[in-house]
């Protein structure tokens, strides 16, 4: 099961196009789009009525904010979930569990300017995990006269907006360059200054996982894409051991 999210900050807004069909074509016409957010330390779930086509739910830029999370479910699945008290995010169905991954188009826009998008999703297996993220700062950013931002989305199963630390780390000098606060169940947006766009500098989190996405803007043109988790680069069976060794260096720097 996958979740979907939006972004809103500064002069940037976003919209989501969430399909009601799997990428192999199977469709669930009885699936509605639900919006979930935190109210009074509880999950608040609402049926999201939006402009839609036969095949897509459209989430407009007003609702595509940093708090709202979206998912597909049937009325019955929501009733069952309600009986369980909406205590935390759980698997309601397997409809969005596909290979290749079930994705929505997340497009970011600049008023009277450009647009950029990627096929996005937040997989269920990530919401149960506490863990770390490593992502190089310079691989998707642009130095030349541009503004660069790290967008870091976390979704966690419990209805909490807990603060946790993010770090920009120089792996070569083994120093923390910048420490900043992030929030769970939120789309966090951090400006990256140009002097940090060097090959040795990485973004690292210790307590919570998430999806790091990079946004660049120049002359109203935008570029928006996520980095891969390190284990995507290794296809052999020992991939998680190799990645754990790689991350160990970062843990040692922040401890």
């Amino acid at each position: 099961m996958n979740f979907f999210f939006g972004i809103k900050f500064l002069e940037f807004s976003s919209n989501l196009k969430i399909p009601i069909f799997q990428n192999q074509g199977h469709k669930k016409s009885n699936y509605n789009l639900y919006c979930i957010n935190i109210k009074d330390n509880k999950w608040n779930i609402e049926l999201y009525s939006s402009q839609s086509t036969d095949d897509f739910y459209m989430v407009n830029n007003y609702d595509c904010n940093n708090d709202n999370i979206f998912f597909l479910a049937s009325d019955n699945e929501i009733l069952n979930y309600k009986e369980k008290g909406f205590k935390n995010l759980i698997k309601l169905n397997n409809f969005t569990l596909t290979s290749p991954a079930y994705r929505a188009n997340l497009e970011i826009n600049l008023k009277e300017g450009g647009f950029s998008s990627y096929q996005s999703e937040y997989p269920l297996q990530m919401i149960n995990k506490k863990g770390s993220i490593v992502s190089p700062l310079n691989i998707l950013t642009n130095k030349k006269n541009s503004k660069n931002y790290l967008i870091f989305k976390n979704i966690y199963k419990d209805p909490i907006n807990e603060a946790f630390k993010g770090y920009f780390i120089n792996l070569k000098s083994k120093k923390i360059i910048q420490k900043f606060e992030l929030k769970t169940n939120y789309t966090n947006c951090i400006e990256i200054h140009n002097d940090l766009l060097h090959e040795e500098i990485y973004f690292f989190t210790k307590n919570y996982t998430g999806i790091p996405v990079y946004l660049s803007s120049r002359d109203k043109h935008l570029s928006f894409e996520h980095t891969h988790p390190p284990h995507e680069y290794i296809l052999s069976e020992d991939k998680f051991k190799i990645v754990a060794n790689f991350k160990k260096e970062f843990y040692e720097i922040i401890c």
Binding site: K17, P19, F21, Q22, N23, Q24, G25, T53, D55, F56, M58, S99, P100, Y102, R103, A104, N105, E107, G113, G114, F115, S116, S117, Y118, Q119, P136, N138, I139, L140, N142, S146, L171, E199, E200, Y202, Y214, S216, S217, R218, D219, K220, H221, L222, S223, F224, E225, H226, T227, H228, P230, E232, Y233, I234, L235, S236, D238, I242, V243, N245, F246
Partner: protein, 258 residues
């Protein structure tokens, strides 16, 4: 016993049968590769219509295995799948390596095609490595900010130590042209859309895009432009055929993998 069963289950013959009978299909076959290998995606390059392509990659062997002095081979093909050029890059940086592919890179060729990227090393590697650099490719039109995306589909591999490049059909094909991939995006509000298709296998791919028939030979690529269609369904004999999308609106452009 468990390993033996896994070997049988993933044997080339059984994989062929599974994929063609739609029983526990596997789009990628990495199980039957025995040695240290570097797998490449099929990346697309463009120098047509004022495009420049920016290619960025990290040194995976250095990052994860502490192997120094590795190199990168990049092999370029034109849109007919013919070999164009090969470059060898050394002195790699750990996380930021970049090359710009513009028309001067190809002696003023204004066209498009694909390229493959392999990590190689002269150091004798004892453990069995299998790496894949998904990399990042940016597309810039008229020198504007490049729009970046990551690698889209596995294509081929090279042995890390002896540099022998293999096209072994990591992405699997089937006999019937009935594998469906419906792009999960709604193409409304754009001036036009281009779909960049490339063949990641060494066999002919047959496919239908919204009912229109096309064929792609080994390493071949082509761009299909459309202004009116809002939904795209691809039906093919390839189990993983997804295009790179270029969307245009006013003077702006967006690139992403479908």
């Amino acid at each position: 016993m468990k390993l033996f069963a896994k070997k049988i289950f993933n044997s080339k013959l059984l994989l062929f049968l599974r994929n063609n009978l739609n029983i526990k299909k596997n789009k990628f076959d990495l199980f039957n590769i025995k040695k240290n290998i570097s797998v490449s995606d099929s990346f697309c390059w463009r120098t047509d219509k004022d495009f420049e392509t920016i290619f960025r990659f990290s040194d995976i062997l250095k990052n994860f295995y502490k192997i120094d002095k590795s190199k990168i081979i990049i092999i370029f093909y034109d849109k007919q799948g013919k070999f164009l050029k090969e470059i060898l890059l050394d002195n790699l940086k750990q996380s930021e390596n970049e090359i710009k592919i513009d028309k001067s890179f190809f002696n003023n060729l204004e066209d498009y095609g694909t390229f493959h990227v392999y990590h190689i090393s002269n150091i004798d590697i004892k453990e069995k490595l299998m790496i894949s650099n998904r990399c990042y490719v940016g597309y810039s039109k008229k020198k504007a900010l490049p729009s970046f995306m990551h690698g889209n589909t596995y294509s081929s591999y090279a042995y890390i130590n002896n540099h022998n490049i293999k096209y072994s059909n990591i992405v699997k094909n089937k006999i019937l042209t009935n594998s469906i991939y419906k792009i999960q995006n709604y193409f409304d509000g754009y001036d036009r859309t281009e779909l960049f298709f490339s063949n990641p296998t060494d066999q002919k791919i047959k496919f239908y895009l919204n009912g229109r028939f096309y064929e792609l030979y080994k390493n071949e690529s082509f761009i299909i432009e459309t202004k009116t269609e809002k939904i795209f369904t691809i039906k093919s004999n390839c189990l993983f055929l997804r295009p790179v999308i270029f969307n245009y609106k006013n003077n702006f452009m967006d690139v992403f993998h479908a």
